[in-house]
Symmetry: C2
Amino acid sequence: MERNIYLDNIAVEDAQDKWYDNLEIETAVETIDVREARGRITAQAIRSNLSAPHYHASAMDGIAVVAADTAGASEKNPISLEQGTDYQMIDTGEAVPDKFNAVIMIEDVNQVAEDRVEIEVGATPWQNIRTVGESLVQGELILPTNHKLTAHDIGLVLEGGVTEIEVYHRPVVEIIPTGTELVEPGTSLEPGEIIEYNSHVLCNLAEQWGGRGVKTEIIADDYELIKTQVEQAVAEKDLVVITAGSSAGREDYTAQIVDDLGEVLVHGVSMKPGGPVVLGTIRNTPVIGVPGYPVAAALTFRLFVRPLLYQLAGDEVPEVKKVTAKSAAKVVSKLGAREYVRVKLTQLEGEQRAVPLARASGQMGSLVEADGLMAISEFSEGVTRGAEMEVELLNEGMHPADTLVMSGSNDLTLDIVKNELAQKKVDFITKSTGSLGGLTALKRKEAHLAGAHLLDTETGEYNHAYVEKHLPNRDTYLVNLVYRQQGLMLRKEDADRLQKIKDLATSDLLFINRQRGAGTRVLFDYKLEEAGINPQEINGYDRVEYTHMTLAAAIANGGADVGLGVLAAAQAFDLEFIPVAEERYDLIIPKKYENDKRIQKLLEVIRSQQFKEEVLSLSGYRTAKTGQVMEND
Amino acid sequence: MERNIYLDNIAVEDAQDKWYDNLEIETAVETIDVREARGRITAQAIRSNLSAPHYHASAMDGIAVVAADTAGASEKNPISLEQGTDYQMIDTGEAVPDKFNAVIMIEDVNQVAEDRVEIEVGATPWQNIRTVGESLVQGELILPTNHKLTAHDIGLVLEGGVTEIEVYHRPVVEIIPTGTELVEPGTSLEPGEIIEYNSHVLCNLAEQWGGRGVKTEIIADDYELIKTQVEQAVAEKDLVVITAGSSAGREDYTAQIVDDLGEVLVHGVSMKPGGPVVLGTIRNTPVIGVPGYPVAAALTFRLFVRPLLYQLAGDEVPEVKKVTAKSAAKVVSKLGAREYVRVKLTQLEGEQRAVPLARASGQMGSLVEADGLMAISEFSEGVTRGAEMEVELLNEGMHPADTLVMSGSNDLTLDIVKNELAQKKVDFITKSTGSLGGLTALKRKEAHLAGAHLLDTETGEYNHAYVEKHLPNRDTYLVNLVYRQQGLMLRKEDADRLQKIKDLATSDLLFINRQRGAGTRVLFDYKLEEAGINPQEINGYDRVEYTHMTLAAAIANGGADVGLGVLAAAQAFDLEFIPVAEERYDLIIPKKYENDKRIQKLLEVIRSQQFKEEVLSLSGYRTAKTGQVMEND
């Protein structure tokens, strides 16, 4: 077991300094057609090759005249002119013949005969003529060096008789995905295989930041194969990125290869996600090894490649926009590593708050959903709820006032709500915290609303008793989302191994439970009690999943054999479903948000016929009371 | 002379309403590879085809264990495990074998023998394991409909096993440049020929606004040829633009062709530039005829095509950003047409001001330089200096605090200053108003500084007397820019027709003068007086150009035969140069701007060795006092 498990742990800024200070950033220049140059940056000042107009041009449709011939013309005393001698017809852009020095616009000309006109206003010399050089003079500066070309610029450069210009080369980034377990998108998967998509994310980020991204084939975890590819890449490209293999595992070769071929400047940065990053240089080409976890790959690429790409392209590095927001929740973080928590910004409790999203480095969804990054210092063990934090924006098009945050129980129909709300320009963020978790989030003012299906086992009523207990002094109302079937889910081949809850105690099927506080768990415990079973008789009672869907997926996958969940989840994974109960799922909405436009749009959605139809197209749902305010009986 | 000279004159908003209300905007959908979809907009919700991970995956490099086997491990009481039976080596991403249910990270494992390890901390069930569906669950909503894809999104979609997605088709705009006088860029020009660049500006604007622009060959002013192209275009493309021919001239066919093939909705809008625009529809395809003047073409395209492109692409029309600024100068405008004055924004007199740029529709440079458009109402005859105006931004990257405005005499070395200041992130706008014009602009506080070479004919001194007269109560200082040669310029073939100023009275050469208030004109008048010549003896004394370069261009072109100007201008146009005098060109800077960072950078530039070298590489300049403060003698 040979492992090089020692990584540096230097601060992000120190790593950046070490990296940028040791790179020789050289911008290259290329000649391109200006017609293809929008967004490119001039490497040389552009001067006009000619004057425009290059002749005296009529600025109007009309007649060319000699100004002196028209002096004194008036309404009472029009002057008559003869074609050929006194005037000539002329269109916009045509050269004014030498003998004339003014143009009278056609609207001011009275045609009195085929070859004769009258005018009532005299012309001043050079009126309505664009004289030579009016727009551009030969040799004049059109655009300075280091200027980013716009569509309008392209016109002026062409007008100046220039078609080819010198611009900075767009840096080409080669991205080398490594990993024996990786397969290309579109391949059907075997266990242990992972779809390789980091390279596509990084290619697209490179393009977004002014570079060009080129990915290679996936390369297996083989020292020689990777090394050969890296050698070729550094000879041809401006920047080389190796994804995965940057840490200190048995098959992590990046650091060693960079060290063999060039110099490792940094291996390991005190950041999360993304710590085990390799920053190096091989024959003056910057080479970076990023971790394989997608969030880590994207964030290290952002910190260590984004500024570099702009510099290589001769561009200014755009300032990263920052806003301040109060953390919507407490976040505990490890000392010794700066954590970049992905957050969604929302207007909550009358102020801008940052809602922390999933923190695992494998959760690409957290980056997709995020508006920005909230950095928790390496010298801190986290932030308290309400702490004022700086948020670095990832998404400048964010709109906190149109972001609605729900916490609580997960339900499949929330995806329909999310999609419909997106059409109404509301970003709907659902945090799967379980029914009780949702009430707690409301209590802590971490969300705008909660979703719950909590059975009061004494009354058989749903939710009201829990709301009264957990939110005693809060004015809330309950709006029904759906009624839904809960049942035992198991693989089709196991269908005859179980008929009812009671059988769980005697079967050897491996159960999988929902987390504490989940309404489904409350229901399960209630049903166990009803059946007179001690939870400890259930094999797997302590193992939990957090949503219906992950639970169903685990069963479909063989990670467990049986669990309680909704029919739609069972159907999504083609599982057997044994109905256990129908339950009520409500939204709990604080009264103070009654007039909030986001909540109003949410209610519009769930009260629409379309929503109900979409819900019913999933199985196991009833919408008889969907959208209704549920009074306490 | 058959002319259809009647145009409508309807308000911009009415024209937009008539246009958008009568178009049937249909978004088309296409299936593309998600890897190529950054910036595209989903036409359908994207749901995951699979769960990710699709198996229980190790989240760490380490060992897979059974959690229960590790219970009670501590530093004092380590637990020993045997390879194969108690643990198995596992790397990040590998499938956890069924028999194990936890992973201990390698850093927490002590290797004690080849096949034996010790651990000092127990594992909890499912620790360091990414369970099935942790990132994505099969069937889960990944992205809603009408969502613009980011680089991060692409990763998540690929992770969900989706490679092809439905997005809105990018609308294709065909741009048909018409005009017998037009030639393609890169062609050498004959008098009357014009470089066709509108189509490239519009193509690039179309791309910027989410469409695709395709230009056809230039088509001559021939009714049938244009009609054939339009017929073909409407059958294939989403939008058709005909440039030029939209007015009411002899060879303006656009309106008639649209009327023949479909319906003209609007012909003529009360706006400047851009009034004679044609808005129509042919077989459900929107067709627009834009005027040939480049500013008019770009502005009408902006008003009538930009919103349409976004809508056809299924995108939201981005809000046009607006700022308020005080007009830096009085602008007189015609009643009855809304004028879109291009303005540069600058911080002047402690507030944001809009500096009106060239107003002619042929001056593409005004759009290149502009930060925004200041609309002057069709019901107003203009705006006063200081009027608070709304400015619609063209350039969101504008930076008024780094924009420096100079007014006054034109000099070729100002192009060098402009280029060098651009490297220091200062936008240097020079308005050629002549030496006296510059002093007037300073008096009116329309500029930060002025440039002048005004000879006091009584003392032979430059500038001081004029500054004292025109800016009596202003504290200013003079900084020398250059000394320069002024001389008579004429075509080489005319070289022997003139030796000195006095000869002008007797020669039959056609003179061209500079405008009133230009220092060169003051110098010329002084030299005439010295030579005892009455200005009226000079053939062409009343004809004027506004800069050295346009004057030299006019002579080179045969528009005139002789004029007074600087050596560098003569050389740029290969003209004969007969020296008349050396004169001093100074910058006049109000003391209050002494510490302004833009002025400081300007002084840094002109005091640099590099600037002096570049100036001397032009001919006819001396830099002995360049950058020095000039005291009154």
